[in-house]
Symmetry: C2
Subunit: 127 residues, 2 copies
């Protein structure tokens, strides 16, 4: 288990995800102030393209530098606002979800035991 | 911009990603100790299924409880080891990538200016 590599890959995933959230923010702003631009950006930003945040931005800069710069600014802001909460939220989220999965499994085992017990009730002792 | 919702969605993305990394870790361990089981788990865990970590685990528990419990344990361990490094790594990563995009754009503008200047050289004054 290469923890350093896993941390690096996880941080890359978060960066791409924040780029996607920055795009969504800019789309919401534009749909208020400039619907045709919002439409253009929406069409440009397919699900496929946005999977790799840096490649997406490179492609966007080729077409519309102003929108590229705008997404850079928003994702930097998001990173500053959101990142500090992540460690606690992720740890707690995983602990809660794990507890839930374990509880469900325990419940199924208990249910199974009860069924087995009711199918094979204790025989009355013969006198 | 709903920062609270964005933080929540980002943490969900990290949890699913760590579940995927936990699966990869278990796959690597099994391919050393029990190749047929590794093969089974690999076949079971398509790219599609693993997008939503909790749904994936629910499905896995239906088939192989032991492997389900194993992935829970590994992802909890990964969360503890990796999460504290994320804020700094993500912030620095975004700042560096943004600087790189801005530098490239500046370079292109400078290149453009140079080309324009060489296409329209200063005319010699007529004497």
């Amino acid at each position: 288990m290469d923890l350093k590599q896993i941390a690096k890959d996880t941080s890359k995933t978060v960066i791409s995800y924040l780029t996607y959230q920055a795009l969504r923010t800019v789309l919401a702003q534009l749909s208020e102030t400039d619907p045709p631009q919002a439409m253009w950006l929406h069409r440009f930003s397919s699900q496929d393209k946005i999977q790799d945040g840096e490649a997406y931005l490179k492609a966007l800069f080729q077409e519309r530098k102003d929108l590229g710069f705008r997404i850079l600014t928003v994702r930097e802001h998001l990173a500053i606002e959101v990142c500090d909460f992540l460690p606690e939220m992720v740890r707690t989220g995983i602990q809660q979800a794990n507890t839930e999965h374990r509880r469900e499994q325990l419940e199924q085992i208990t249910l199974l035991d009860t069924n087995v017990a009711s199918n094979y009730p204790e025989q009355p002792e013969e006198g």
